[in-house]
Symmetry: C2
Subunit: 141 residues, 2 copies
Amino acid sequence: MLLSQRADYAVRAMVYIAIQEKGKRVQIREAADKQEAPEPFLAKIVQALAVAGLVDTQRGAGGGIALARPAQDITLLQIVEAAEGPIALTRCTYEPGRCPRMERCAVHPVWERVQRVLETHLAAIRLSELAESQRKLTMAA
Amino acid sequence: MLLSQRADYAVRAMVYIAIQEKGKRVQIREAADKQEAPEPFLAKIVQALAVAGLVDTQRGAGGGIALARPAQDITLLQIVEAAEGPIALTRCTYEPGRCPRMERCAVHPVWERVQRVLETHLAAIRLSELAESQRKLTMAA
DNA sequence: TATAAACAGGACTAATAAGGTCGTCATACT
DNA sequence: AGTATGACGACCTTATTAGTCCTGTTTATA
């Protein structure tokens, strides 16, 4: 698999948070149940999302998780990178300038191009769109 | 990293084989030296390429590896899949119908779409193009 | 102010995959 | 026959992934 479970859980959890009524906080337990994710594992992922500034967490009774900004300002790429760390197609493209063959290898620029395509596509998808189609799906059922 | 070292070694080795004069076979040892890949590891990868029908191997003195068909009939996607197995973005898209949430999850179709984009881009790149630009690079140096 | 509800954070573990090695056998040219 | 070469399979080591668990700390509210 190209993306890990972390990324998948993270995205689904974000969608779940996004479809709540405004102002309502979600508990990790609840999100884990609904998304069929192991609770302690999801808790860790949520921490990473919080560090990345995508969600705002609040402790204590009545606490929970909420989006840190409007859903249309959050992209799929941001969620994936928050959960997984920066994405790199191969070791060559992990850090710019890290690959010793860069100057003499015809494959290098191709990996870079493909990676850019992937990032662009992920960045074009907004959490608000995902939330919208999730709402429709849920209503239909 | 989204793709493993196997894929990277495989692609570079294929380019190296493709830039040889017609009819000349490459020894694994030689390819490993040139591509800075561990020889026994590359040998395994070459086996996978042979099973996938991308290269033709010949044992014995004067043996070695050659392309099994013209370089313009081999795509980057074929090489990557031969080296890594079928690519799947997430566990959801690993096998069609394998994901239990498919019907009620708004994220699922997005993963499928992104995966298709990736596959399409990889399939659009031909080994012959890579070989051509590698030849130019080598001549320039 | 006690208490229960919630996340924070670190240490730990199990399973899997990646990356790599080695030895032996089969094959083909000379 | 001898030697060069890949095929094949067993094995090993390390890193990553996917989790678990325990002990906090914060916060609302009864």
